[in-house]
């Protein structure tokens, strides 16, 4: 694969609802899902509300348009909702809540987003555990290559129910990018690729949460000097990388 730029980064948004001072360098990272109607907001998970917060922020950063295809990627998605349903099933507490059931699908955030912003553009919802940020970026870049003018990428995960994955302690995080065809005056990214990680700097506060994997890229876009940078997008060896060009 060529390492030439395939997308430009037109907007960025972040939601780190439990982060402390370490998040200040990224600007406003608060939870703000005011785009969702109040009833929906009350009934949806932190995961969905974080995704909407970051997506809305990225769209505003890119100029305000929201009528674009979107790729939502999350390792565990609505696992907190699924946990409640599985507990109800184990306890024989039928009938299940219809709201919990339809809010347990992996494309819950994507569905509510499309309704809230009233877009008929395609919504993708995908998962790849810790490879999620790299592969979500791949999916979004392929959509740009296929002709989409702008694509919204939203990578998000809230904490796991403790009893399911006690080793996966991660802070809730949602990260969104608006991507478009590459132009000279914007940060540009190559198609993600796998390579040995020997010479690579580990991403900032690296854990399994795929959204957190994207913070290294966000940091470099924000603070890096002009020129070409190799940025790691996930853990492991070989790991996923991209080439970032800053104007």
């Amino acid at each position: 694969m060529s390492r030439e730029a395939v997308v430009a980064v037109l907007g960025r948004g972040l939601c780190l609802p439990q982060a402390g001072a370490e998040a200040e360098r990224f600007g406003d990272c608060s939870l703000d899902a005011s785009l969702l109607p109040p009833l929906t907001r009350r009934r949806t998970s932190l995961a969905t509300r974080m995704a909407v917060s970051a997506a809305d922020r990225a769209c505003r950063d890119a100029g305000g348009g929201r009528d674009m295809p979107a790729v939502f990627v999350s390792a565990i998605g609505e696992m907190q909702v699924t946990d409640r349903l599985c507990q109800a099933i184990a306890g024989g507490a039928f009938p299940l809540s219809p709201t919990l059931f339809h809010n347990s699908v992996h494309n819950t955030a994507a569905g509510y987003w499309s309704i809230a912003v009233d877009t008929r553009q395609p919504m993708q919802a995908m998962a790849a555990l810790a490879d999620g940020f790299a592969l979500g970026l791949t999916e979004a870049a392929c959509q740009v290559a296929a002709g989409a003018q702008q694509v919204l990428l939203v990578c998000y995960d809230e904490a796991m129910p403790d009893h399911l994955l006690p080793d996966y302690t991660w802070q809730p995080c949602a990260l969104a990018l608006v991507l478009g065809a590459p132009g000279d005056d914007r940060p540009r990214l190559a198609m993600p690729y796998r390579d040995t990680a020997a010479d690579a700097r580990a991403p900032a506060f690296a854990v399994h949460n795929p959204a957190v994997q994207g913070l290294a890229l966000l940091e470099q876009i924000q603070d890096g000097p002009p020129g070409r940078h190799r940025v790691q997008l996930g853990p492991g060896n070989p790991a996923w990388f991209t080439e970032l060009v800053l104007p």
Binding site: S2, T82, I89, N107, Y112, L129, L135, A146
Partner: protein
């Protein structure tokens, strides 16, 4: 860089498992005889009248020992389909790996359940003992990408591997992602489609929405009363076109849209569904008149079928033959797009137009050419297949011969 290939991509192999059996031959037999395989659930007690398309447990092989941590009903469904000797999907994937290199072959798999069935069983232990059973492994069993990673490990592949989970359009979306990965030059071949297994959560979930039929489902019927759930795997291998693929069935184009209307109810006029169909036609460079048959999503709920038929009317008028096949397979949710893609592939190769199993009297509100019985001895050239999911997530695939 070589010029990008056209949108059309050859389907170089496919495989299927459903309540009709393992292998495309069993599905073909079912399409021809038109007899429902839906029965009351055996996997678990439903607690209310229901019919499901359950795969016979004797057909589901255990996973090889070194991959046993991935062992779920979902993974077993995938393995059963993969190893059907007549369909030869495993051999075709290994040929692609040899030809292009392991890192050039992706696995993009649709699912809406993944290993929820195993998690439900594990939660029973959790409730009784306060602990999950020792062999329960969330990452390798329930995580959305678990079955895709299992297939990747089983086949020794190293390309992009992810799960697509957009409810009932999941596996159609996976085929569309596969198409884009090949066109963008990221992959040379992609194993795509979907796998879903029966579980209490989906059966009781749809029941809570009052969408489960108490009899075997009767899509498009004037007295239709809801869905019957099914399970299965529908897997397809898409490749970068090569000269020897000229005679393969091709994925000619695809369309996607959102309703932007409601999480569970479709848009009443089928606005998003019509848009997905129109986008697929546009991408393939075809007109509605070029389509010989439409395999409808046709779940059997009052609203879904009415919405889809309104969209059909808007895009096709009344003359294009159409039908729904979920009376045979049940609604296999995240596997539906994959299994119905295999039905399109079979229809093109075998020269048939599937009927609508369970249909007695077409809803008189539908001004359409709904096929009740399977037509044989025909030669369709282009077939459309629709799948729509929660969140107003719509997909349309177009299959046909390349020339």
């Amino acid at each position: 860089m070589p010029p990008p290939p056209p949108h059309a991509l050859p389907v170089t192999a496919c495989a299927v498992a459903s309540d009709c059996g393992v292998g495309s031959r069993s599905l073909l037999d079912a399409l021809r005889d038109g007899r429902t395989r839906l029965r009351p659930p055996r996997l678990f007690e439903a607690g209310f009248p229901a019919f499901t398309g359950e795969v016979d447990a004797a057909l589901l092989p255990p996973l090889p020992g070194h991959l046993a941590r991935f062992d779920t009903r979902n993974a077993r469904l995938a393995l059963a389909a993969l190893d059907d000797a007549d369909d030869g999907l495993r051999a075709a994937v290994l040929r692609a790996r040899e030809r292009y290199g392991a890192d050039r072959v992706g696995v993009i798999l649709g699912t809406s359940t993944s290993g929820i069935y195993e998690t439900e069983n594990a939660y029973r232990s959790l409730a009784e003992t306060g602990r999950l059973p020792p062999r329960y492994d969330f990452v390798h069993q329930h995580a959305w990408v678990a079955t895709a990673r299992y297939l990747q490990a089983e086949l020794g592949l190293q390309g992009p591997c992810y799960a697509v989970s957009t409810a009932c359009s999941s596996s159609s979306k996976s085929l569309i992602s596969a198409q884009r990965l090949i066109q963008a030059g990221v992959c040379d071949a992609v194993l795509a489609g979907g796998v879903d297994s029966l579980c209490r959560m989906t059966l009781h979930g749809f029941k809570s929405l009052d969408l489960v039929s108490e009899t075997p489902c009767t899509p498009l019927d004037r007295h239709r009363s809801g869905i019957s759930l099914g399970e299965g795997a529908g897997l397809l291998l898409l490749e970068r076109p090569q000269p020897e693929h000229a005679g393969c069935v091709h994925l000619l184009g695809a369309g996607e849209s959102s309703d932007a209307h409601h999480m569970t109810a479709p848009h009443p006029e089928g606005r998003g569904a019509a848009l997905a169909m129109q986008r697929a036609l546009r991408q393939a460079g075809l007109a509605a008149a070029d389509i010989d048959y439409v395999n409808l999503h046709a779940t059997g709920t009052t609203k879904n079928d009415a919405s889809e038929m309104a969209a059909m009317q808007a895009v096709f008028g009344a003359g294009t033959p159409c039908s729904g096949t979920k009376g045979l397979t049940g609604h296999t949710l995240g596997a539906a797009g994959g299994i119905e893609a295999v039905i399109a592939w079979l229809s093109l190769r075998e020269g048939l137009l599937p009927g609508t199993c369970g249909l007695r009297e077409t809803d008189p509100a539908f001004d359409a050419t709904v096929l009740r019985d399977t037509r044989s001895g025909v030669a369709p050239r282009r077939i459309m297949s629709n799948n729509f999911g929660f969140g107003g997530n719509n997909t349309t695939l177009l299959f046909g011969w390349a020339q």
